[in-house]
């Protein structure tokens, strides 16, 4: 065994020790990535384009939640039902702001182009412009330093699993993530809205002939994706604070997750998010923390080059 062998065995030993605590953190991040990734995947399903401005939906949800927490939480940390209520309120407000920004975005940056049947390049550029506009506007209005969110709870360890402590923050993310992703899955699979989303994703022209209102469906798709992205923004901000550039890196990773699971594939995006979160968390053992983003990006490039349809495959139109 050479030097590399020693390097590897040493790090594998660390991995064995740290595995579960890293795993828990990874799953929590994974839920957040999944919640953002479904926004990419839904929009991709109906419009066949990457919503570059999704990161700013996430960011605005984070700020929405921040202002609610700031307004409602005084000097003492709330407990009990007040905590639960505040978290739910934060998620709702984050989601609402996210949905609102997504709607505006669709109205201003996408719909005029769609009316004109513009080439896809125009959509991409318009979305990039909207993204830059939004986050720099937030930077101007809310300052360019990170704001730490007033905490609705004391983040104490709740229980341990295989020696890894699970903190309250993670439990909040697990519960919120499971509830939201599960209900999204059901909404798309069973409701009338879900059916129209799937129909538009499959074949927009035929869907419109069958009486599906395409404009409305696309607007609702943005709302649904935006709500989840905004809620994820609040949950993310709860842990790390909010700042105008907070959307960029998580959104790039969520996009990776969406591609990893197969873009256009709803369950793929969720699974991709979890996988990416865990993979990136475990990679801390092998590389310096500063390079985590490089690992995620490497995964993106590798998936795009070797399996561009993702793990579950692009299921355009079938799962939306």
């Amino acid at each position: 065994m050479g030097a590399f062998g020693h390097y590897l065995t040493g790090h594998l030993a660390t991995l064995r020790l740290e595995f579960w605590s890293l795993f828990v953190g990874g799953v929590a991040n994974g839920f957040l990535y999944g919640m953002i990734a479904v926004g990419y995947t839904l929009v991709y399903g109906v419009l066949r384009l990457i919503n570059f401005a999704h990161s700013e939906i996430f960011m605005s949800g984070g700020f929405g939640g921040y202002f609610v927490m700031k307004a409602l939480i005084g000097s003492s940390v709330p407990s009990g039902m007040a905590t639960v209520g505040l978290i739910v309120l934060g998620i709702v407000v984050g989601g609402t702001v996210g949905a609102l920004v997504a709607t505006l975005l669709e109205r201003v940056a996408y719909r005029p182009l769609r009316r004109r049947n513009a080439p896809k390049l125009a959509y991409l550029i318009s979305a990039i412009g909207a993204s830059y506009f939004l986050f720099n506007l937030a930077g101007k209005e809310f300052g360019r330093y990170s704001l730490s969110m007033p905490q609705p709870y004391i983040n104490h360890p709740v229980f341990t699993i295989f020696g890894a402590t699970v903190q309250l923050y993670y439990i909040v993310i697990f519960i919120a993530g499971v509830v939201m992703l599960f209900s999204l899955d059901r909404v798309v699979a069973t409701t009338k809205l879900g059916r129209s989303i799937r129909a538009v994703a499959q074949d927009a022209e035929t869907a419109s002939l069958m009486g599906v209102n395409i404009d409305r469906t696309i607007a609702l798709t943005f709302i649904v994706g935006g709500a989840l992205g905004g809620a994820a923004g609040f949950l993310f901000g709860l842990g790390t604070g909010v700042v105008y550039t907070m959307g960029f890196v998580p959104a790039l990773k969520a996009f990776t997750a969406a591609v990893l699971g197969g873009i256009g594939n709803l369950r793929g995006a969720m699974i991709g998010g979890l996988l990416l979160g865990v993979a990136e968390s475990l990679s801390v053992v092998f590389v310096q923390a500063a390079y985590i983003d490089v690992v995620a990006f490497g995964i993106l490039v590798a998936v795009l080059l070797f399996r561009p349809t993702g793990i579950l495959g692009e299921r355009l139109g079938r799962a939306a």
């Binding site: 940056a109 049947n117 959509y123 720099n136 506007l137 960029f248 790039l252």
Partner: protein, 448 residues
């Protein structure tokens, strides 16, 4: 009630005008800060929200009238728009026809060139002399470089800053300003870093392009976006190689000793201006020739219909990589100028925002139109320098990107081919909008 209000076209126009002006008020109004994150919004809107408070500040009077003006102009355009447009185009017909004639084009180009060479003598203010290099000439160069990638080959590259950083760090490396000395023992002066930086940037373009340019256009955009970010991470963290966030050691100024010619660039910006201008002219001529060469036609063919291009024997990947490398070369050179003039380089100068800035210059001027891109870069960067020189109240340097982002959206909605459109590009967009042609294939891979 709101829905019926919204359906009334006049009310709708008025509503949109007011919202647009309200957003403009937010953009230009007082900024907030991290201690009081809502101060800007409050000062812009809430403190003036009561009816009597509405006109309390002069800003509001101005903005109210601007909103009414916007509404009026909009209504006028809807009413007489086609007549105004045909009037304008009949007035512009003669200059437009003249601009197509080759002698006129050469004449105007030459006149502009002479003006560009005279510029440092006309404007002697030190701020503007520095801005001419740092904000204008370098950006014109970068814009014509990115135009090769975005305009000619139709590839959306959001990581252009990577090649600029590579050029700058190469300069620092060969002049011995990085912790890692170059493998040869002579420390070059930055003048000789120019060919090396251009070469290494091109090489990086090939290395990055060869695998990623197989991807569809929208994936390419996000991969290049990530690449631009990764370069910053590496520059920030590889202390032993790049000096980390502390930046490089001082980089010497370039000097040229070639036979009888001896020249030393110093701290003054003007000599750098001439150096950059020389290269701008070289690249301009090269890219104009390239546009109409076999390679340029291959790019057009790939951009318009990749499958058809492939079927007549054009290897798309080869030409795309070529576009990437050629575009990268200008960024590499720009990196040399920046590094050698500013004496020291920091990872924080090579951010994603920079790539977007260059992209805006290309989109605003007109993708694929060299004249347009130069004009676009001149307009935006001059405006930016004005803002830098005498910032209006409440303006912070970082707000620039907000305006640029808004400009991108507005251009895409109203004038997707840019200020001075390339005729070919304009036609492609029009055809694509009417459902003909396959311009989108490059981007989406949706082969029918």
């Amino acid at each position: 009630m709101i829905a019926s209000f919204w359906r009334n076209p006049h009310a709708r126009r008025l509503g949109i005008s007011i919202v647009a002006i309200a957003v403009l008020e937010l953009m230009t109004g007082p900024p907030g800060n991290s201690e009081a994150p809502t101060a800007g919004i409050r000062e812009s809107f809430l403190e003036a929200s009561s009816f009597f408070g509405l006109f309390r500040t002069a800003r509001w009077v101005v903005f109210f009238f601007v909103a009414i003006l916007m509404f009026a102009i909009w209504t006028l355009l809807l009413w007489k728009g086609s007549r105004i447009r045909s009037g304008i185009s009949s007035v512009l017909a003669a200059p437009r026809a003249a601009s197509q004639r080759r002698p006129v084009r050469w004449g105007v180009g030459l006149a502009l060139l002479v003006l560009a060479f005279m510029m440092p003598h006309i404007e002697t203010d030190p701020f503007w002399q520095a801005a001419m290099v740092e904000q204008i000439a370098v950006y014109v160069l970068l814009a014509i470089g990115l135009n090769v990638v975005v305009g000619f080959a139709g590839l959306l590259d959001l990581g252009f800053v990577a090649f600029y950083a590579i050029g700058a760090y190469t300069t620092a490396w060969v002049t011995g300003a990085l912790p890692t000395p170059p493998p040869f023992h002579i420390h070059f002066n930055p003048f000789f870093a120019i060919p090396m930086a251009i070469g290494i940037a091109m090489l990086a373009g090939i290395i990055l392009g060869a695998p990623t340019l197989r991807l569809r256009g929208d994936y390419l955009a996000i991969v290049t976006l990530g690449f631009g970010e990764i370069i910053t991470i590496f520059a920030n963290n590889l202390y032993g190689i790049t000096g980390g966030s502390q930046g490089s050691n001082p980089i010497p100024h370039p000097s040229l000793h070639l036979g009888p010619i001896h020249y030393v660039w110093g701290l003054k910006p003007v000599p750098y201006y001439y150096l950059t201008l020389t290269f701008v002219v070289i690249f301009l001529v090269a890219f104009s020739l390239l546009e109409h060469s076999r390679v340029g036609r291959a790019w057009t063919a790939i951009r318009e219909d990749e499958v058809a291009a492939e079927s007549v024997g054009i290897n798309p990947l080869k030409y795309k990589v070529m576009a990437f490398a050629i575009g990268a070369s200008t960024a590499g050179f720009a990196g040399v100028v920046t590094a050698s003039q500013s004496n020291q380089i920091f990872p924080s100068s090579f951010t994603l925002q920079f790539s977007i800035n260059i992209l805006v210059l290309v989109i605003f001027g007109g993708m694929g139109s060299i004249a347009g891109v130069v004009i676009g870069a001149l307009i935006i960067q001059t405006a930016y320098s004005f803002l830098l020189h005498s910032p209006p109240q409440g303006y912070q340097p970082a707000d620039l990107y907000m305006y640029l982002g808004a400009l991108l959206v507005i251009m895409m909605i109203f004038r997707p081919a840019g200020l001075v459109p390339s005729r070919r590009r304009k036609r492609e967009i029009r055809l694509s909008e009417s459902g003909e042609g396959h311009m989108d294939e490059v981007l989406t891979g949706d082969t029918p």
